[in-house]
């Protein structure tokens, strides 16, 4: 009998999604900046996914006869110093950067978000101590730190993921902690404490659902900064390594020929900055859609 009752009321009890994705996306798209951001971001993600279909040539195939050809019907974006097709390389060049920075953003979100909420809820001396450490990390020049870590570990795309994730996670800690502190001062958290709810349950049911969107928006913002960081690392030789096609690497290799073949540098530059602008616009609109309005602060 109890079974019958349970099945009857089961649909009514189904949990609703906490962060309502559909309505949030609709609100993002209803803003011109949000729509542009969304289109640009989706465009580059699709471009990376379907690069083999988009690229007219093999991005690695070089031909000494085709060096520094200007854009033409044959090579829409021209060719580079080794005679490779720039369009094909631009199509493939975002793949590694997107994957690496996306993974790093997820890591940063997970660890930064968790630690931030934890410190915000626990408070007291533990929080005080942790925040001083965070301040210390934020005082380190980020690019030099990345370079140091990359040179110790020997660099390479897969080493960069945890380093970026760790470093940007620290910035997320601050945001997550501030949000958790604000929610922690609300009476429903007091009510849960008074009931004697265990701390993890307060974090999970009372605090997390109320700070998730703030942290998520912060993560989206950090993603674009990570793209810049990864491109810089590749440019300096610690990110993507030569057989891989990568925008940062393309810019590094071709910059010597700026004067004779500007297209081989400009196209990857344009692709990189357009993607970053797109993600920034998207994150900004996302923030406004969920009611988090933040100033565009600079990377630490």
């Amino acid at each position: 009998m109890t079974d019958a009752v349970a099945t009857d009321s089961a649909p009514a009890r189904r949990r609703r999604p906490r962060v309502r994705i559909n309505s949030t996306l609709r609100r993002v798209a209803s803003r011109p900046s949000g729509a542009i951001g969304l289109i640009l971001t989706i465009f580059f993600v699709l471009l990376a996914l379907f690069a083999p279909l988009v690229a007219p040539y093999d991005p690695a195939a070089f031909d000494p006869d085709l060096v520094h050809l200007p854009p033409s019907a044959m090579h829409l974006m021209g060719t580079d110093s080794l005679g490779r097709d720039v369009l094909s390389r631009v199509a493939f060049g975002g793949r590694l950067a997107l994957v690496v920075t996306f993974c790093a953003a997820i890591i940063a979100l997970l660890w930064g978000g968790t630690a931030g909420i934890f410190f915000g809820v626990v408070g007291g001396r533990i929080d005080e101590f942790a925040m001083r450490i965070v301040d210390g990390f934020l005082a380190i020049p980020w690019l030099l730190f990345l370079l140091l870590m990359a040179s110790i570990t020997g660099g390479g795309a897969w080493i960069v993921i945890p380093i970026l994730g760790f470093f940007y996670g620290i910035a997320i800690i601050r945001v997550a902690r501030a949000a958790a502190l604000q929610i922690g001062a609300r009476d429903f958290v007091t009510a849960a404490k008074l009931r004697g709810e265990p701390r993890w349950s307060i974090i999970r049911t009372e605090v997390f659902p109320n700070v998730a969107d703030i942290i998520f928006v912060e993560g989206a913002m950090r993603w674009s900064w990570m793209l810049i960081a990864f491109a810089s690392l590749s440019f300096l030789g610690f990110g993507a390594t030569p057989p891989t096609v990568d925008w940062g690497l393309m810019i590094a290799n071709e910059r010597a020929f700026m004067a004779v073949a500007p297209w081989s540098v400009l196209w990857p530059c344009l692709a990189l900055s357009t993607l970053i602008i797109g993600i920034n616009l998207l994150a900004d609109a996302l923030g406004k859609a969920v009611g988090v309005d933040r100033a565009g602060d600079m990377p630490a």
């Binding site: 009890r13 009476d187 009510a191 008074l194 004697g196």
Partner: protein, 689 residues
């Protein structure tokens, strides 16, 4: 009556929804204010009362637009004027006194400089004359030492003084009309009573018109010549203060009057069913019809006409029936038992204790925020804790709940001593002790469904199957009179009164022995307050819980409590059975508190016995009330803590006067009631050092 100074003529205004549909906030409101007249606009939250008042100044909140009608001030159609023309009128001829003066005054300028700046903007007074005008204005608003006050910054003034400064600023340029938007709402009862008396004097002195907006009929009754009652954007009745309050023609003001708790009797006031409609809702008939006990089909389908009455107009089909109807409250019967549920012994709480090094450096500990608090509550009993802001009533609740560990003293729950901090309390002792918060908005998680909110305590304290959980949650919703369909919704979609019911249901989900109620009805409208009080009483009768009911509102405490403790500066002045505490003999402080209460009757004046003062911390020795007491027993008040005088049925008064002296004072009480010793409204702030 002379000519109309302000005319609101069939004004409808509102905002547009997403579909560009008109969402009216005011519907066809007509109202006039004559020269020298004070109009009180009364209504619950969302009734549009402030919107009407601001429309008189030609001001619309952003996003609002006028759909039809006019607002005329002194011959100027305010909405037809250009913005610069309007600005010139505002501040010079019609001025606003906002609700929270403390927030509207600039913190970085002395109040004298701020008034001077307003004068420079809105009047042609020469620079040199302004200084003297500022001092004139400050003495006009009965600030006793204008020269001192003018040099103070806003934070150095008490709430009542800030409000007086705001009034002085509004009067500065010789305004002909003053719009007062809930100017005393955040103030203590005694301060409020003083400000109202001063406003009454001011109107007779200056011959200006006032529009006084308030949710409190008691306040309106004190100041207004005429009253306009708003409900859901409509003006339901207007008329002469005395007749409207004595015999309202519309059922809404009648129900409103009926829902106000009265000090005289221990009665839970009649509650109005339901909740006010959401702002801007589309409707056909009378706005009040869904909650009106007299409504007929016609009320729901047609707009009621304006019925001319002897004292004013009412918009109602059922005026004749309404005249015969009288909402009745329910006398409270006690359901107390003899088992003590909670006992507090010699409780002391301090927010700030200097550390050892700073003590060595000469920092002295300030007197404890709360001290010498003793009381016991039996099962099924309600203990009311009353006092003005800063009296420590909420602090005591926080100590009992474990949020602030007490400095010393014990709290015993069902005979066993409770650990001071919530961190050391087990589920066995947190379950019987539940809390209901003042602000239901903040007390309920907006990201959880109502079902999840109610299930949380059950899952924590009881081992139940899903079917049992569902059953209990549904029973609870029935007990707090909310539809089961709300369970899968979120609290953001509910009204204030409904949210508070969810808060109450959550407390009862734990099946508690004691429920701590922290100003639970303060944020609610009067009509909703009455039904919430009735609900709390019903739950107590059926479940036998004890309540500790904290409130600043004596009438509410009187209605619901079996026992009352009056607090001043964290010390109990008087404690005992409700009927004894609210009858003489009184502690001198209780007498003043009761005297300052406003009732919705223009012929009952508050008794203002002493100067209005506020203290920031208790004196370190002697009676906590020594500095404000109007009838000190002698120098002993400054040196010794008052002893307990035990009167009949456990009524205890902490005072140096003997029981005999207190009783003797009591016999002169009735005569005192007539002779109001009003000491010119001067206000004095007793600073801690």
């Amino acid at each position: 009556m002379s000519a109309a100074l302000i005319t609101i003529d069939k004004l409808s205004l509102g905002f547009r929804g997403r579909d560009l549909q008109r969402r009216p906030i005011l519907r066809n409101v007509s109202l006039t204010v004559d020269v020298g007249e004070t109009i009180g606009i009364v209504g619950e939250s969302g009734s549009g009362k402030s919107t009407v008042a601001l429309a008189m100044m030609g001001y619309l909140k952003p996003g609002l637009e006028v759909f039809s009608g006019r607002a005329v001030f002194n011959g100027n159609d305010m909405f037809a004027l250009s913005e610069p023309q309007r600005s010139r009128l505002r501040g010079s001829e019609i001025a606003l006194v906002p609700q929270n003066a403390g927030q509207t005054l600039t913190p970085t300028m002395t109040v004298g400089a701020q008034i001077e700046e307003a004068l420079a903007l809105h009047s042609g007074i020469a620079r040199k004359a302004r200084r003297t005008r500022v001092l004139e204005l400050l003495s006009l608003v009965r600030l006793s030492t204008p020269r001192v006050i003018a040099r103070r910054y806003p934070h150095e003034l008490s709430g009542g003084q800030q409000q007086r400064v705001a009034i002085a600023m509004a009067l500065g340029s010789g305004a002909r009309a003053l719009i007062l938007d809930e100017p005393t709402t955040g103030l203590d009862v005694t301060t409020q009573a003083h400000i109202l008396e001063f406003l009454r004097e001011l109107t007779s002195e200056l011959d200006i018109s006032m529009v006084y907006v308030s949710h409190d009929l008691g306040v309106i009754a004190r100041v207004a010549d005429r009253i306009a009652v708003m409900y859901a954007g409509e003006l339901v009745e207007q008329g002469n203060t005395r007749s409207l309050l004595r015999a309202p023609a519309h059922p809404y003001p009648q129900a409103l009057l009926g829902s106000i708790p009265r000090l005289g009797e221990r009665v839970i006031p009649a509650s109005l069913p339901g909740f006010p409609p959401p702002v801007g809702e589309a409707r056909q008939g009378c706005a009040f019809a869904p909650r009106c006990p007299l409504s007929v089909d016609r009320c729901r389908n047609e707009l009621p006409p304006a019925v001319e009455l002897a004292h004013g107009t009412a918009h109602c089909f059922r005026v004749d029936e309404a005249a015969l109807w009288k909402p009745a409250g329910n006398p409270v019967s006690s359901c107390r038992t003899d088992t003590v549920a909670l006992e507090v012994k010699d409780l002391a709480i301090s927010y700030f204790t200097p550390s050892l090094p700073s003590r060595l450096m000469g920092v002295r500990a300030s007197p404890d925020t709360v001290a010498r608090v003793d009381f016991a509550i039996r099962r099924g009993e309600t203990l009311g804790l009353v006092g003005e802001s800063g009296s420590g009533k909420s602090t005591i609740l926080r100590a009992i709940s474990g949020l602030i560990p007490p400095k010393h003293g014990t709290i015993e729950l069902n005979g066993a001593s409770l650990p001071g901090s919530i961190a050391h309390r087990s589920l066995e002792v947190t379950k019987p002790l539940q809390m209901i918060f003042q602000n239901a908005d903040s007390a309920l998680n907006p990201r959880l469904s109502v079902r999840e909110i109610l299930e949380a305590p059950m899952k924590l304290y009881f081992d139940l199957s899903q079917a049992e959980l569902d059953q209990r949650v549904e029973n609870l919703m029935g007990a707090v009179r909310l539809p089961i369909s709300y369970l899968n919704g979120f609290v953001g979609q509910l009204s204030g009164g409904e949210k508070q019911r969810i808060g109450i249901a959550r407390a009862f989900a734990a099946e508690p022995d004691i429920v701590l109620c922290d100003e639970v009805t303060s944020a609610l409208d009067v009509s909703v307050q009455a039904s919430t009080l009735a609900l709390l009483k019903r739950l107590q009768e059926s479940r036998g819980a004890a309540y500790i009911f904290v409130s600043h509102d004596l009438a509410v405490v009187r209605a619901i409590s079996d026992q009352v403790a009056v607090l001043y500066q964290g010390r109990i002045c008087e404690i005992g059975p409700t009927d004894s505490v609210f009858k003489p003999p009184f502690h001198p402080y209780t007498e003043i508190l009761i005297g300052a209460i406003l009732v919705p009757d223009p012929d009952t004046a508050p008794r203002l016995l002493v100067q209005d003062a506020s203290e920031s911390s208790p004196p370190s020795i002697g009676c906590p009330y020594q500095r404000r007491c109007p009838c000190r027993a002698g120098p002993i008040c400054d040196t010794e803590y008052p002893p307990i005088r035990v009167l009949a049925d456990g009524h205890r008064i902490h005072c140096h006067h003997t029981s005999a002296a207190l009783t003797a004072r009591a016999s002169s009480f009735d005569r005192n009631l007539e002779t109001r010793t009003l000491s010119a409204g001067t206000e004095q702030r007793v600073l801690s050092q």
